[in-house]
Each structure stands twice: as C-alpha cells, then as structure tokens.
C-alpha cells in the first residue's frame, strides 16, 4: 500500500487523524510519519524471530507457493515452512521474491550493508562450472518447453552472476 502523503513509498504505519474533523485513517511511509513526529519502528521489528516463525507457520508469506522447488537441492518452500531452514544457497534464487519479503519481515530490510565479498579466483572457475551446468539445464528446459523450470534456473543463474 502506498503512503497517503507522498504517494511514492510503501506505507508502514496506519494513523488515525483526529485533529481535523472528520476523523480519518492515514497510511504513511516511514519518512512522512517521521515528519509528523510519529515513530514507526518499522526498521526494527520488536520480536523479529518470533514474528518470522509465526509468519512462516501461518503461511502468510508462503501462501500459494508451497510447491515451489529449488532445482539445485530439490527442496520446496513447504520444506522450508516445516523446518525454518533453507536447503542451499540457490534456494535464495529459487524463492527470491518470497524470501525478500521474509527478510524484510525479519530484519526490517533485505539489503545487506556489511562486508562485500568476492570469492577467490580458483573458486570462480569452479563456480563457472556450476553455472555451465545450470545453463545446459536451462537450454534443455527451454527446448522441452518447461518454462516454469526454466524461469527458476534463470533465477539461480542470476544469483550466481
């Protein structure tokens, strides 16, 4: 939902305005809320871990996508819901959209601000062979018109690149 004030950013807080009658509900983003002196705490959930587990259990974030499957480790979003653990690093590509929401729910953001990392050169070559394998699988999937599979492989390749 967009902020009622700036109409640009996502609303993070709902405010009931009673100063100018009639009473009305305003949905505000963090910045517009701050300008009105309203603390949102949106960047810092009070109980992130508890919220996260609850969200996973209540399937809010995963609704309708439980059968999504990671082509690298073969685990599904349902597996993740049951164990709270992902199967491999490529799951982050396979379930990217859902995980981005989930990370925002847990940490208040999905953007890493810490150390940047570049793997060692030799490892890059090994990574390249995994990428080659994924590209072969992608080509095969496209040839066989398995477009859902192809989309997932493309996402994984995107993560690797």
């Amino acid at each position: 939902m967009l902020c009622d004030s700036c109409k640009e950013r996502d609303a993070v807080v709902q405010v009931t305005q009673v100063t100018d009658p009639p009473v009305r509900q305003l949905n505000l983003c963090e910045k517009c809320a701050a300008e009105r002196g309203i603390e949102t705490h949106s960047a810092m959930p009070k109980q992130p871990l508890a919220d996260f587990i609850q969200a996973v259990q209540q399937k809010q974030l995963l609704a309708g996508s439980e059968s999504w499957r990671c082509t690298f480790c073969n685990s599904t979003l349902r597996d993740f819901r049951n164990t709270s653990r992902l199967g491999c690093a490529y799951c982050y590509g396979a379930f990217e959209v859902k995980l981005r929401d989930l990370l925002r729910g847990v940490h208040g953001t999905s953007k890493h601000q810490g150390k940047r990392y570049h793997p060692p050169a030799q490892a890059m070559e090994e990574g390249a062979s995994v990428a080659t394998e994924l590209r072969t699988r992608l080509r095969r999937a496209v040839e066989q018109e398995q477009f859902e599979e192809a989309a997932k492989l493309r996402d994984q390749l995107k993560v690797m690149e």
Partner: protein, 359 residues
C-alpha cells in the same frame, strides 16, 4: 576417537581466566559468523558424502591459514555422547553440532577446529560457524580476531554471497552479515532490584535479545544472560559491534548502580542472603546443577561487592563450567547417575572453595 583436551591451551577454557574488562560482571565475550560454501547443499540437506567433502575443503583451508593452522581438529561425529556433551558444556561447540538436540542428531562430517579462543565448527546448521571467545568484556579483540579468520578462510574457500542479501545462511535469521556478537553477563543486581524486565524489554526494542547460559533455546540460570544482536541484515558488522558495545556499557552501568542501591537500602538482608549462599556451597553434601548455579551467583555477587574476599573470579568461573554433569563424570572417569552427580558436584565445589580460601 577419544577426546584429549589437554592438547588445547588451558583445555580450551582460558576464556574463563577473568583477565578482560569488567570480568566480575561479564564472564565472556563472543563473536560468531555463519558462512556457507558455494556449490554445496546446506548441512541439513546435504548427503553424508557431501558433508565429508565440505570438511575436507575446510581442513585444507584451515591448514594453510596462518591464524588457524595450529588449531586442533576434533571429529565430533566420531566422539561418544559424553565427550560431545563435555565440549558443549565448555562452550566450545553448539548443542546442534554436539548432536544433543533430539531434532538434530549428530551428523557425519560434524567437526570443530579448536584453538586459543578461536573455533571453527563445520557442518553445524551452516557449513561454517566461526567463533572467537574472549574473557571478560572484550568485544574489540574478539571482533578483530574474527575479521582475520573470516578473511583467511574466505580467500581459500568460496563463500555463498548474494549482492542484495549478503552472506547466505541456512536460516534467514542469520542472512546478511551472518554475525552474532554476544556477551555472557551476570546481572543479579538488576534481578534482585526487579529492574531486569525493564532492561531486557529495552534491549529488545533496539534490536538486541537475550538468551540463557548456553545460547539459543537455553534457560536463564544463575542470573547469567547472553545478550546479543537480534538482526544480522541492514547494518554493517562494525555498526552491530559498536551498538552492542554501547548497549553492554549501559547494562553494566545499570547493574553497578543496582548493586549500590542494594547495599544502601537492603544491606544486611543482602549480606545475609549472600553469606548463606556461600555457607551452603562450603558445606552442602549434595547440590543440583540449578542450586549450584544460584548459590554461585550469590557468591559471585558477594565477591563483586567485596563482602567476601580472598576468592578469585577465575575460581568462580571454573566452578560454573566444571560442576556440570559431563565434567563431573569426566573427572570421576565414569558415567554418574543424577544423585551421584549431585554428590560429586557438592564435593568438587567444597574442595575448590577450601583450596582457595583455606579451611
């Protein structure tokens, strides 16, 4: 495989030596990083052979890393349950790596490289859990050690990293920096003055959390709280560490203030309570673990308030660790039943205190 902890400097417990700042209040400071190798399923999903290959890759990297090459490899998957518990009680491996959690029995390839205040757990929840441990309140050194070993390993093995999400981990609660910095802190003053809930609620509001003596999922015993950052994404490593430093300084100041208030407003009541704790530890014939922890908490406070002199914090720290079940069994050289452990615990505590302050 049998476990020979004598191969480790000070048996891996020099973090108990009370040498760091505020060591009467802060038992230890810890920094840990979660890292995964590119190209392998996470340990919970990986096959046995894959986990062994991961261990082989890590071993190669550790052996060529200047800060880790002298670390001792312990194959946790080849140890009996008593030895695994012993390592866990010594805070050298997590409950999950030790396979003590019913949900997570010990995995093939589970191992730890142990060194002087530096440990590398392999095939835990993530492929790698690096941890640095320092005595007392010493976050800066623990963090500096961690940066060095992270750098050295990251140059030798490829970590799974995502441009937006950062370091990728098995559980999304660790994604990003993968960093959890914590201090094990003794807060009896805040507990006795009933200020503790307010303090803990305040911590949670600013993104910090607390756990018990053994970290995640453990109960608070003996007024020991492990305070750590809750979120790992969206702030840099330095920001997380700096913020924890500020938070802990505030908590320490509040604890010191609470102790002053206790002495001022309830002097003889507190004094009586603490001497009773000391008396029980000196003379009891049977002690459960929880009893021992609570009385040790009292005596630790008495030493901090200078009501009891001649007893070092180092001895109190050692009592916390060595009076646990697996340590008592290890010392006796045989498995002990619960009641036998209670007798052995009381005897051990009596002897340790008598040796320190005289009979």
């Amino acid at each position: 495989m049998t476990l020979d902890l004598s191969l480790l400097p000070d048996g891996g417990v020099n973090w108990l030596d009370a040498s760091g700042d505020h060591s009467g209040i802060v038992l230890s400071t810890r920094v840990r990083l979660a890292r995964n190798l590119e190209g392998f399923a996470f340990p919970g999903r990986a096959r046995d052979g894959e986990r062994l290959r991961i261990l082989a890759r890590v071993r190669e990297a550790v052996e060529s890393s200047p800060h880790l090459r002298r670390n001792l490899l312990v194959r946790v998957d080849e140890l009996g349950s008593d030895d695994r518990l012993l390592l866990h009680e010594r805070h050298l491996i997590s409950k999950e790596l030790a396979g003590l959690d019913q949900q997570h029995p010990v995995r093939s390839g589970a191992a730890v490289f142990l060194g002087d205040g530096i440990g590398v757990m392999v095939n835990e929840e993530d492929h790698l859990r690096l941890q640095t441990l320092r005595s007392g309140f010493n976050l800066a050194d623990a963090f500096a050690d961690m940066q060095r070993i992270d750098e050295e390993l990251g140059e030798r093995i490829p970590f799974a990293f995502h441009e937006e999400f950062g370091f990728l981990t098995s559980c999304p609660t660790n994604t990003g920096t993968g960093l959890r910095a914590s201090a094990l802190i003794h807060l009896p003053g805040l507990v006795l003055t009933k200020e503790i809930n307010k303090t803990l609620a305040g911590l949670q509001q600013i993104g910090f959390t607390y756990r018990g003596l053994y970290g995640e999922g453990s109960e608070v015993v003996g007024n020991f709280f492990q305070i750590s950052n809750q979120t790992t994404l969206g702030r840099s490593e330095e920001e997380i560490v700096d913020k924890l430093l500020q938070v802990l300084s505030t908590v320490i100041a509040r604890e010191e203030e609470a102790r002053r208030v206790l002495l001022r407003d309830a002097g003889y009541i507190i004094e009586d309570k603490l001497w009773r704790a000391y008396g029980t530890l000196r003379y009891a014939r049977s002690l459960t673990f929880d009893e021992a922890m609570n009385f040790l908490s009292g005596v630790r406070l008495a030493v901090g308030l200078k009501l009891i002199t001649g007893l070092s914090v180092y001895t109190l720290n050692k009592l916390l660790i060595f009076s646990q079940a697996a340590h008592l069994s290890h010392a006796e050289g045989r498995p002990l039943s619960e009641s036998e452990a209670n007798l052995a615990r009381a005897r051990y505590v009596r002897q340790a205190l008598a040796a320190e302050v005289g009979t």
